[in-house]
């Protein structure tokens, strides 16, 4: 994508985005709700069309010409309620250009894989929402796409199915499929992707491999858990390397001063008082994201965002427990 811009009336949904997705990559689109992720994906899918800018998908100027090579699991997804699962998948497979012969075996194989072999002859409406979601995933991968786009694929799934789907996504990637994976739950992106693109207010704010992000955003916080209850944090604050201390759930987080050496700080903290745990906290994508926003916008927006992102992550932790 080169300088892609999309507006809805007065609202600018996507503003001048440049994106390159390498062949075989597993790229995460992250950002809070309403950031412009789905609009970007819909433009890649040629369901929406940019107002300006250029776009090329799998070497074609529009996804319309290569739809049969793309698999898509939209965020707004549904099934034909009255249709039988097998028939539905057949219909989608045929629409994606698969030949009729051998299609049934392929479908049954996939249903086996998503642990729903018995639903072939069931009506879609008889399936639970999570089951329907897995069936929809199958409709996206049935035709062995070169590019697989998944918009919030885990929303509404239980932990067991989340793991199942995660493994299937990885498997697809290992077989050479390029994957774009969009989520507002950054922890998920961190777990799966090797490259993330952050979108905020319709603009790209980060586009890096996960590894290099970690390297670039050096840890600036130490998490510690004192042995005794009613611990006086002023001891820690007095160490000179610590800017501030705040309680986070069961532990404390000490933010280091810009001059402090993180590794030395860990030693200082560990010897300052009897500690159950002292840990150098690596920044999560979420922390990175908030830091970026903090830099570009104001503290207020960042704190709003922190709340929004935390809410998303809380959902994710809820299901992964």
């Amino acid at each position: 994508m080169r300088g892609v811009r999309k507006t809805f009336g007065k609202k600018v949904a996507v503003e001048g985005i440049d994106i390159d997705i390498p062949f075989g990559g597993l790229v995460g689109f992250i950002g809070p709700n309403g950031a412009g992720k789905t609009t970007t994906i819909r433009m890649i899918m040629a369901i929406l069309f940019p107002d300006s800018g250029e776009l090329s998908v799998l070497g074609k100027s529009s996804a319309i010409e290569s739809k049969d090579r793309i698999g898509y699991l939209p965020e707004e997804r549904g099934v034909y309620k009255k249709m039988k699962v097998g028939k539905f998948l057949r219909h989608m497979g045929r629409l994606k250009g698969l030949p009729a012969t051998g299609l049934d075996d392929l479908i049954r194989g996939w249903l086996e894989k998503i642990e729903l072999p018995e639903v072939y002859n069931k009506r879609c409406e008889e399936l639970s929402k999570g089951m329907q979601q897995k069936v929809q995933f199958v409709s996206g991968v049935l035709h062995k796409p070169d590019l697989l786009i998944l918009d919030e694929p885990f929303s509404g799934l239980d932990p067991v199915n989340m793991r199942l789907l995660r493994n299937l996504i990885r498997e697809q990637n290992e077989q050479g499929t390029t994957i774009i994976f969009s989520t507002h739950v950054m922890a998920q992106a961190q777990q799966i992707c090797d490259h993330v693109i952050m979108i905020h207010n319709g603009q790209k704010v980060l586009d890096d491999p996960v590894k290099s992000i970690r390297e670039r955003y050096e840890p600036r916080a130490v998490w510690f858990e004192p042995m005794s209850e009613g611990f006086d944090v002023s001891v820690i604050e007095a160490l000179g390397v610590v800017e501030s201390v705040r309680a986070v759930d069961e532990h404390f987080e000490a933010r280091l001063t810009d001059q402090a050496d993180p590794w030395a700080a860990v030693g200082l903290l560990a010897s300052a008082a009897p500690m159950a745990r002292v840990e150098l906290h690596r920044p999560s994508l979420e922390d990175v994201f908030i830091e970026i926003v903090e830099r570009s916008a104001g503290a207020e927006e960042a704190s709003n965002l922190r709340a929004a992102v935390r809410a998303g992550d809380a959902d994710a932790q809820e299901v992964s427990r």
């Binding site: 899918m45 319309i64 739809k67 549904g78 009255k82 989608m92």
Partner: protein, 475 residues
């Protein structure tokens, strides 16, 4: 556009609509059941015996001339006879209208029953049992009305209700008084809930008895006057290649209307189904999954084509029924193959325009309820051909008819009425109408495709006209 995908979408559309129990029941079974039930319904109706009025009719005959005749005419036997005559007259009028030669059609083709059966049917329907009491010329009408008033609340049914009606014949009703220009009148007073047929019977008997007595008084022969005033007219005959047959102008006027209505039915059915399935796909959110496999234009085209097949199926079924009926009545030459071919062509054109509107509406709203508001103007558009049914069939070549047949989207309906009429338009007009409609179809489909593309992914408040125009510009 990928034709294979369009056909696939169309196939699913057709299968999910026409191969469902609902459709088969609605389109085929219900009409068949109704047809099969007709005799049963007739038997049921005829076996139900509605209560007949029983009671007294008081006659105050100031002319002193009609009493006996009136009493005779209200005998049950006489009433049955007069009802049978009325029925015969009705039957003749109906067959005249449809251009049927009653005598050439065998009894069981036209009559559901023989004369005997008919008579017993009339008896079963309940013949009023009326006693006439001739009260004499001087009886006070007010006093009789008072007796009637007492009977007002008496229950009906098979019981004798006493005095039901008072008939008053003026003194000069039969013999005109010297200085008057007109004869005197008769009046009838009844209780409120008297069967209207009973009232008709009483009035009819009064009228006929007064007339008979007038003829007598004037020294004329009633039968001779009847014969003089009744002109027997033979039906208009059409001379055909093989002989002659009775003309059926009314039927000839109905045939174009039938074509128009059939076409409209097919178009409406297909369009309605299209609206429903579009809303369904949108509200079940399956649409974005579909859009990952096909473009919005392919999706819309496939859906329109699929539902066109549904409409066409209905059209062909009803057409076949109609053609069979025409063969039964030996009127098969009233339509011909080319008319049907034109109908199929104009159906497709009319359908594409209507269906585009339906697809656009379906994509713009979230549920059927929201579509209703937008449907009102569309329905008015659909009603237009109905409004012009009479003027067009009466004069298919008029300036009005000709003009209307070039205005899409009503043009196809008007044109088919003109083609099916007995003065079909010249070929250049038909071809011009086809051309105009093809252009119309492109415009409608083009506009609808734009609304469709934007609308499908828009959830929330249904759009107004201004928003729709914005969508067209946007897409």
């Amino acid at each position: 556009m990928n034709a294979g995908k369009v056909i696939r979408i169309a196939g699913r559309e057709f299968a999910s609509t026409a191969l469902t129990k609902g459709f088969i029941i609605g389109a085929l079974v219900v009409p068949a059941v109704i047809a099969a039930l007709m005799p049963v319904i007739i038997i049921l109706i005829s076996s139900a015996k509605p209560p007949a009025d029983q009671g007294e009719v008081a006659l105050i005959d100031r002319s002193g001339a009609v009493g006996t005749l009136f009493t005779e005419m209200l005998e049950p036997e006489q009433i049955i006879e007069s009802r049978r005559e009325q029925f015969e007259a009705m039957k003749k009028a109906a067959s005249d209208m449809l251009g049927l030669d009653i005598d050439s059609i065998s009894q069981d083709q036209l009559d559901l029953m023989s004369d005997e059966q008919m008579k017993s049917l009339f008896e079963q329907f309940g013949v009023p049992q009326l006693r006439v009491s001739d009260l004499g010329a001087d009886t006070d009408v007010e006093a009789q009305q008072a007796i009637l008033r007492e009977n007002v609340s008496k229950p009906g049914g098979d019981a004798d209700r006493g005095l039901l009606a008072v008939a008053v014949v003026d003194a000069d009703a039969v013999v005109k008084s010297d200085d008057a220009e007109q004869y005197g009148a008769f009046s009838v007073y009844t209780i409120p809930k008297l069967d209207d047929r009973t009232v008709d019977e009483i009035r009819g008997a009064l009228r006929r008895s007064i007339l008979d007595r007038r003829y007598e008084a004037a020294g004329m022969d009633g039968a001779a006057i009847d014969a003089l005033t009744n002109v027997n007219a033979n039906r208009t005959q059409e001379v055909t290649e093989t002989g002659t047959r009775e003309a059926a102008f009314e039927l000839q006027m109905l045939i174009p209307g039938a074509f128009m209505i059939l076409m409209l039915m097919g178009v409406m059915a297909g369009g309605q189904y299209l609206l429903t399935t579009t809303i369904e796909e949108k509200s079940s959110r399956v649409v974005e999954l579909l859009l990952s496999a096909v473009s919005s234009v392919e999706l819309m085209t496939g859906k329109i084509v699929g539902q066109m097949a549904v409409g066409l199926t209905l059209l062909l079924i009803y057409n076949a029924v109609g053609i069979v009926a025409l063969f039964v009545f030996e009127r098969q030459d009233m339509i011909n193959g080319s008319t049907i071919a034109w109908m199929l062509l104009f159906f497709s054109l009319a359908y594409f325009m209507f269906a585009s509107i339906m697809a656009a509406i379906g994509s713009a709203v979230n549920e059927l309820r929201e579509a209703q508001a937008m449907m009102t103007p569309v329905m008015l558009l659909v009603m237009i051909p109905y409004f012009f049914f009479l003027p067009v069939t009466r004069d298919p070549g008029s300036v009005l008819s000709t003009t209307l047949s070039f205005i899409p989207p009503i043009s196809p309906y008007i044109m088919i009425m003109r083609i099916a009429s007995n003065t079909p338009p010249p070929m250049w007009q038909i071809l011009l109408a086809v051309a105009v409609n093809v252009v119309g179809v492109f415009v409608f489909v083009w506009l609808a495709a734009k609304v469709f593309r934007v609308g499908l992914l828009m959830f929330g408040k249904p759009p107004n006209i201004r928003t729709l125009i914005k969508w067209v510009r946007m897409a």
